[in-house]
Symmetry: C2
Subunit: 280 residues, 2 copies
Amino acid sequence: MKKLSKNRVKKKGVNKFINKIICADSLKKLKEIPDDSIDLIFADPPYNLQLKNELWRPNQTKVDAVNDDWDKYDGFEHYDRFCKKWLKECQRILKETGTIWVIGSYHNIFRVGKIMQDVGLWTLNDVTWVKSNPMPNFMGTRFTNATETLIWAKKHENAKGYTFNYQLMKKFNKGKQMRSDWYISICNSKERIRDKEGKKVHSTQKPEKLLRYVILSSSKEGDIVLDPFAGTGTTGAVAKKYGRKWIMIDNEENYCKIMKERMNSIKDRVVWLEEHKLRF
Amino acid sequence: MKKLSKNRVKKKGVNKFINKIICADSLKKLKEIPDDSIDLIFADPPYNLQLKNELWRPNQTKVDAVNDDWDKYDGFEHYDRFCKKWLKECQRILKETGTIWVIGSYHNIFRVGKIMQDVGLWTLNDVTWVKSNPMPNFMGTRFTNATETLIWAKKHENAKGYTFNYQLMKKFNKGKQMRSDWYISICNSKERIRDKEGKKVHSTQKPEKLLRYVILSSSKEGDIVLDPFAGTGTTGAVAKKYGRKWIMIDNEENYCKIMKERMNSIKDRVVWLEEHKLRF
DNA sequence: GTGTAGTTTGAATCCTACG
DNA sequence: GCGTAGGATTCAAACTACA
């Protein structure tokens, strides 16, 4: 009886966030989400990247690099403390059967991965997003930076029953077991959201295919998918298309406005049903 | 005059280690190497991996997994302290123009990468070794673990003049700028060193092609290449073949014995000269 | 020698039930 | 809780056997 009651409260607690775009401080909002209530988290945290000089192409056109306001941190310590806080909250709100994905580049993913281990999240895979069309290294002083890293982890070492749609992912890989290297082009052309001046709205908008792999491999229909740094809402868009519930959190009003338009333009499960006929 | 003298001492200091296989505690020996004396370091540190259960194939044969004696650590803290120590020494002995490569899997690379940043090594690239023939995931509960990660870094943020043989690497990539994803099969067949019973001598022997990319991209002929966890000495073998000086350190007597045979069987620069005629 | 089928095996935090 | 034992699962490449 007590347990039932507690579960009802818990369920009610998370219900008010479901299918909402929440414009608020990510950490503050995560703290309001009940324990053990989320099936899947996808997080693309700020990159701790602050370019001292602007980057210019050889032809003197400016490269629109990552230098947004949300990307300022004093140093490693500040960043580590911040990551520990939001990762702990993510771990707390994950169901026992839930998993979390975090994406990053070499600027931040090592720190993030180390902290994930420290808080007790249990790595299932490190997945490499191999970009078919990365930005080349203009100076010829390094290798083309052609990858980003995703870490997929469960709530803790002994957590049982996480979702992995093995057979479905196999279908996506010509009938062979899906590997941890994913070949996906960067987000551009029609998918890329731009403002009226044609400027990119978000400096690191993720391609929908990446989120499709994430969401279809590790969640079920009806599951709750949460993104604490939602940006332009690719996670929510893909979640909605494939019949998942979603919670999108971002501190930037501009992103939230764009997300609202984007989410409203998507009809539930349309693409999922379409592809269902073809492949599922 | 004073500077000249200091340089002479420094040079003499490192000379006694050159082209030597040193069977000793890695950290202790690194401390004896002079400051600013090494051009290139390749490190494949122990993986902080300890297998709890044995794994059996579907056909009831046992998987010969990694469970060596050198791979026991009490936990993260112990491992972190150990890594900080050897990485600090590596940074100290690197020339201003020198660089370091560290390889690892998701079990350890996040901790190692975080510590590399903490001690002030400056990341140039994270390179993904994509394995053409990884061990599959037998249970179908995760993605095939198909990659390992290499981190390439210079001595500190403002270090100038590191070696990157851009044009040569371009040749290895069909005339296009070399990317940070490298497609290399795991070490097996003739290259794999086995004992009289046909058993693998080292559980994680690296393929020569991987070391070829590392050494040819980031060192010059005559440079000093050091490996603090040399194992069966693939780093030394490739260094010798391509006309680099080498210092191999490993604590295991068995490995050192095998390395001696291996290094003696290689004639200096033979392969390099051969390939020079063909490609360089 | 050549081609084909069968065998072997590689850095893995691979499951579940039971005592 | 934990440790242990039983049992279900896999892909690519090198190597072997044999026609």
